[in-house]
């Protein structure tokens, strides 16, 4: 178990990167606290897997250093870093039994056979594979194979960190839920530093204490699920987290008011210097009240998704999603008001603090 520091890491797969766009990881400077459970969330191709492989040592970064508990490990091979990693698609050693698969990382490190047996038995119980312990891994279903992969990730008790690269992609939905809860339980019990890569926000939000959102090779926000929801620091976080995502409307700022077409919206405070930047107002569908007072909107569609309704509206020529309680109805002359607590202002996609 260790604290992991990423010291100004940049990585390019090209030999001679010159522009920022050449980098798969533009710049990551971040610390993973010892014993933290992190989710690394972002769309495909944003650099999540690259970052994970840099931590585990499968990739050496083009620039920057990696420190485990203050010790520089940038030049060390994965086996010297003592890291466990679980991959997106199941990796099992076909010709070995399930139990031998789990024992493999231990035996490679020269652990005494009695200890190996005990540890393997423990992990078999954790992932509930005891019944097929002596079957060959070949021919098992993808779910079971991935469980074996997970088990191999968990089998070494002394690892510095366990990295998960979208490990539940191939698993059935109901089993996903079980395994995720189990991982969380294991984290509480053993306190390993865990980094969990995913592009599924539900997975990220339920697994992690802290969610790290990546976009275009950079970390755009690190925060608790609640922070990500209420105060997205980048418009991408707003879009990506929440369903539907945050409404982002182009506005002109005028002190503590924002002008959207003919409408003027009161802000909780005045924004700082935003001259020359593209300014936008972000508000989540949950913070919009639909009623008969406020700004007029026209309704395009109402989607009933069970727990609530999503109203697709148009305000001043811009699309607006509104969450409406299941038992409410859409008024004949629809107007909306924005809850000031839910308003965020963005300049060139980055959130600006509102004073006052």
């Amino acid at each position: 178990m260790a604290r992991i520091d990423l010291d100004h890491i940049r990585h390019a797969y090209l030999p001679n990167p010159s522009r920022d766009e050449d980098y798969a990881l533009r710049e990551v400077h971040h610390s993973w606290e010892d014993g933290g459970a992190y989710a690394l969330l972002g769309p495909s191709g944003c650099g999540k897997t690259t970052l994970l492989n840099i931590i585990s040592g499968l990739l050496t970064p083009s620039e920057g250093r990696i420190l485990f508990d203050g010790r520089d490990v940038t030049g060390l091979q994965p086996e010297e870093r003592n890291i466990a990693q679980v991959f997106q698609f199941p990796v099992v050693y076909d010709t070995m039994t399930v139990a031998d698969n789990l024992a493999f990382p231990l035996r490679n490190r020269g652990m005494a056979e009695a200890d190996v047996k005990a540890r393997v038995a423990e992990v078999l119980e954790m992932i509930d594979l005891g019944a097929i312990a002596h079957r060959k891994a070949r021919g098992l279903t993808a779910d079971l194979k991935q469980k074996i992969s997970l088990g191999r990730g968990l089998v070494r008790a002394d690892v510095n960190a366990i990295l998960f690269d979208e490990p539940l992609t191939v698993i059935d939905p109901h089993m996903k839920w079980q395994l995720r809860s189990q991982l969380k339980l294991l984290h509480r019990r053993f306190g390993h530093t865990m980094v969990y890569v995913t592009h599924d926000q539900t997975e990220a939000l339920t697994f992690a204490d802290k969610v790290v959102v990546m976009y275009g090779g950079e970390i755009v926000q690190i925060g608790t699920p609640q922070e990500l929801f209420e105060r997205p620091s980048h418009t991408f976080v707003g879009y990506f987290i929440g369903s539907p995502g945050m409404n982002v409307l182009p506005v002109a700022l005028d002190g503590a008011r924002a002008r959207l077409g003919a409408q003027s919206i009161a802000l909780p405070g005045a924004a700082g210097a935003t001259e020359g930047k593209r300014t936008e107002l972000g508000i989540r569908p949950e913070f919009i009240q639909l009623g008969t007072a406020g700004m007029p909107v026209s309704i395009r569609a109402v989607e009933d998704i069970g727990r609530h309704k999503i109203v697709r509206a148009v305000i001043e020529g811009h699309e607006l999603a509104i969450v409406l309680a299941e038992d409410s109805s859409v008024p004949a002359d629809p107007h909306v008001t924005f809850d000031p607590a839910g308003i965020n202002i963005y300049a060139d996609d980055w959130r600006v603090k509102l004073g006052g």
């Binding site: 698609f89 070995m96 990382p105 490679n108």
Partner: protein
């Protein structure tokens, strides 16, 4: 639920059946025909029953040729399979070297059999051949024309040169189909180079290796052109394999009956051995 059976569908098989009949069954039947008859020429044939079969099976000439064939196939499999795996493992998996290696490996496979034979026939000659002349110049007493051992070495080396590529290419196809994640996981698990080979690469090559072994066995057991061009079956009968012996009997001596019987026995041996290989390897495969 009742299914209605429509036997007209069998007509669909008819074209295939005709094709197989003309390409395989009917030609084979002419051999069967010869194998049970005797002739004194003049196109007059007499029923001979199983006489030719018992003759062939009890002749020491046939036994010797069969043993030579088994030894030949055994030795080339023992060389070509490990060597092929070794080369495939050391070929680059990406980059500019890949097409270069693939073309280089394919070259021997593109050369016709009798040309391969001619190349080695000339290459090994002690008077003008680069190999034979050099070896003798270095003081090695090498002469495939007189010495049975040298003749065997030449034929074996020639086959290795010609066919190892096939094993290499098949193994390589198996190797490149292994996803990177396997190697990454092995690194994370701290696996040694040998463990990676034993638990990742070899299991993934299993199926293609089965095909490689089968193909190489059948081909080497039927080998004719190359040794015929190089040694003509000699010195003496040292490199007379079954196929060479068969041609000698059929066309050299015009003993059509014994030759036909021998062909059938030869065919059944190949069929039997291939089946044994296949069954053994498939069973191993299932056991994992």
């Amino acid at each position: 639920m009742d299914k209605s059976w429509n036997n007209k569908a069998w007509f669909m098989v008819l074209p295939m059946l005709l094709l197989v009949a003309f390409s395989a069954v009917i030609p084979l039947m002419t051999v069967v025909n010869y194998s049970v008859q005797d002739t004194f020429g003049n196109n007059q044939f007499f029923w001979a029953g199983t006489a030719w079969f018992s003759d062939v099976l009890s002749s020491s000439r046939f036994h010797d040729a069969l043993l030579r064939n088994l030894a030949f196939s055994g030795i080339i499999l023992l060389i070509e399979v490990p060597l092929g795996i070794f080369i495939a493992l050391n070929m680059p998996r990406r980059g500019i070297g890949v097409p270069f290696c693939l073309v280089f490996m394919s070259l021997p496979l593109l050369i016709p059999w009798n040309v391969v034979g001619t190349i080695w026939q000339v290459f090994g000659r002690v008077d003008i051949g680069l190999l034979g002349y050099t070896l003798n110049g270095l003081g090695v007493d090498y002469n495939y024309v007189n010495d049975p051992f040298d003749a065997w070495v030449t034929v074996l080396v020639m086959d290795v040169w010609h066919w190892t590529s096939l094993v290499v290419l098949l193994c390589y196809a198996g190797l490149v189909s292994i996803p990177d994640a396997y190697y990454q996981a092995a690194k994370i698990d701290g696996a040694s180079r040998f463990s990676v080979f034993r638990y990742i690469q070899l299991p993934k090559m299993n199926r293609v290796l089965l095909i490689a072994v089968l193909l190489r066995f059948m081909d080497s057991f039927m080998i004719y052109t190359e040794p015929f061009v190089v040694t003509g079956g000699g010195p003496g009968n040292a490199t007379t394999f079954l196929s060479i012996d068969l041609v000698k009997t059929a066309i050299g001596q015009f003993d059509l009956g014994p030759a036909a019987a021998m062909s059938l026995i030869y065919f059944l041996i190949i069929l039997l051995l291939s089946w044994v290989f296949y069954t053994v390897m498939i069973t191993n495969d299932a056991k994992g």
